[in-house]
Symmetry: C2
Subunit: 332 residues, 2 copies
């Protein structure tokens, strides 16, 4: 395990990362992933300087070909724009990988020798809320260290992954012909966050029907200025990938005109704040539940000296104490 880093060492690593030192960047990303005091210090450092990069989220059911599609988009960015691009592959169900590239991301390995492509996987670190907090911080770190495009790819379509993808500037939702059955539960949630819809494996039967269904669902469920375009792709052959990039770029232009991007990012920052606050309240509740006072409360509860309502009052008072101790004096 890494020993604690001083503030000046942090700045040193940060400067090295800005000059293209990938080892330094990887080390900083580990700090972000780990959270704690250093991660927090770093998050503070990057927040002020970040804001010029553009973040694109890719989400969709496992097996939809997201990873192949992401790789094809990266190849397109490299050949058409010559822009550097960073990819964060987010998998809340995996154990922590220590930052290694996921072994099965074979398609991504075509970029392994390209210095202008940085690929990093992030996995769950204990509490799921931790991942949702770490990803936007990681995006800001990549932003602040000079990566103008950041792609966040989620492995599945659980709620955490939908939340993570929704933090990006443009959210690409990848489905397949006949997709309805595989993502039953989160269909509404997926459509709600989509800025661009992709029907990948569009050479399979049912692509036209899927497009028609999606168009219908969008009409029913949305009342927005921006109507998500529906792009058909075959990631394995590259068909439609240029059109997908055009759709992403159109959405970016839409956001950048009329201040949509700034208001969207302000809304995201607020949501991030509330999420962090809620997690701290939960942590304080967890600590109160482990405290000695709570053992008394539980005993009183089972003896019927106290009802759940009174017991909850006591618990909330203990949380208030926890918060006071954790936060120092309240602002006057």
């Amino acid at each position: 395990m890494t020993a604690a880093l001083s503030g000046s060492k942090l700045s040193e690593l940060f400067e090295a990362s800005r000059s293209g030192n990938r080892g330094a960047l990887a080390r900083l990303l580990s700090l972000v992933e780990r959270g704690g005091a250093e991660g927090r210090e770093l998050a503070r450092l990057t927040f002020k300087t970040a804001g010029s990069a553009y973040a694109i989220g890719f989400t969709g059911a496992p097996g939809s070909g997201k990873s192949t599609l992401t790789s094809a988009v990266v190849a397109g960015i490299r050949s058409r724009l010559s822009s550097p691009v960073a990819v964060l592959a987010v998998d809340p169900s995996s154990p922590v990988t220590g930052g290694a590239i996921l072994g099965d991301r074979v398609r991504m390995q075509q970029h392994a020798l390209d210095d202008a492509v940085f690929i990093r996987s992030m996995a769950s670190r204990g509490h799921l809320g931790g991942l949702a907090a770490a990803v936007p911080e990681a995006v800001r770190l990549l932003d602040a260290t000079g990566w103008p495009l950041v792609i966040v790819e989620t492995v599945g379509v659980g709620q955490v992954e939908i939340d993570v993808a929704a933090m990006c500037d443009t959210v690409v939702v990848v489905v397949n012909p006949g997709w309805g059955d595989s993502v039953q539960a989160n269909k509404a949630g997926l459509l709600e966050i989509a800025d661009v819809l992709v029907i990948n494996k569009a050479d399979r039967p049912g692509a036209k029907e899927a497009a028609r269904d999606l168009r219908l669902m969008l009409q029913l469920s949305r009342d927005l200025q921006w109507t998500p375009p529906i792009v058909e792709t075959v990631a394995t052959t590259g068909d439609g990938v240029a059109e997908l990039w055009d759709a992403i770029t159109s959405h970016r232009y839409y956001l950048e005109q009329g201040g949509h991007l700034a208001s969207r990012r302000a809304k995201r920052a607020k949501e991030e704040t509330v999420r962090i606050a809620r997690r701290r309240l939960d942590t304080a509740l967890g600590a109160a539940l482990k405290g000695a006072a709570n053992a008394e409360v539980l005993a009183a509860l089972s003896d019927k000296r106290m009802d759940p309502d009174e017991a909850a009052d006591r618990l909330v008072s203990a949380v208030a104490l926890e918060l006071r101790d954790a936060a120092g004096p309240a602002p006057s």
Copy 2:
């Protein structure tokens, strides 16, 4: 709307309810449903005296025939045991009905003239968490006013409804042949809380396969002393209803032997406490988000004078203040 009731008036209504006055009981249930100071006072009153009634939860997908089955079970209780029985029909998706019997509960109307059957529906009152809090309090009120058996029937299988059913002593999960498709998302959650499994409409094709599937899933997912029996019923003809009641009774005996019932209820009381505490924390967070301090925080966030982490700290401090103000002085 009812004017505020004094404590002595509450006790009066409580005594009247104990003597069989259904109007008084309905009025008290409305207070429980509404929450607030009177509901809280009442909950405190009933908690001390409750504990002798037995609560049975019925849950399952809409259309599974739960309502018909519940009615048939009530008829069985009345004819075989001559015991009074109360039914709470819980529907989080409906607007508040003011305590009227749901209009479509045609099957239940066969009990409308039976003084030993009390039927009441509870619907969502604003926040969903409110319903999960109100139901156990309503069950305790029925318990304390002399109803020895309380059946809680949920209308659907959303998470709130699963939570509500899981608060009961015996949880009956109702499915149909071919049920897998209709409750996709909550299949695991339903199996986890089931003490008794019912395949209703068992005269339809697929009943044997459903039973086999359920048995397999139980083997895979459970490692408990109690294995949920699987009962096949046809609620419309009454087939299997006596066997269902026997299965419920067996589970009750199992719980009452060896202290399982007491420990289960203690666990439920603890969960109820944590749920109430979490709701109060959420309310305090909501209040902090509306406060003047938060407007400043949001402005600082969008000016980048503050990052989400610092902003969350400020928010949490505001919550701590809210809690202190709400709870009075912390216990020493």
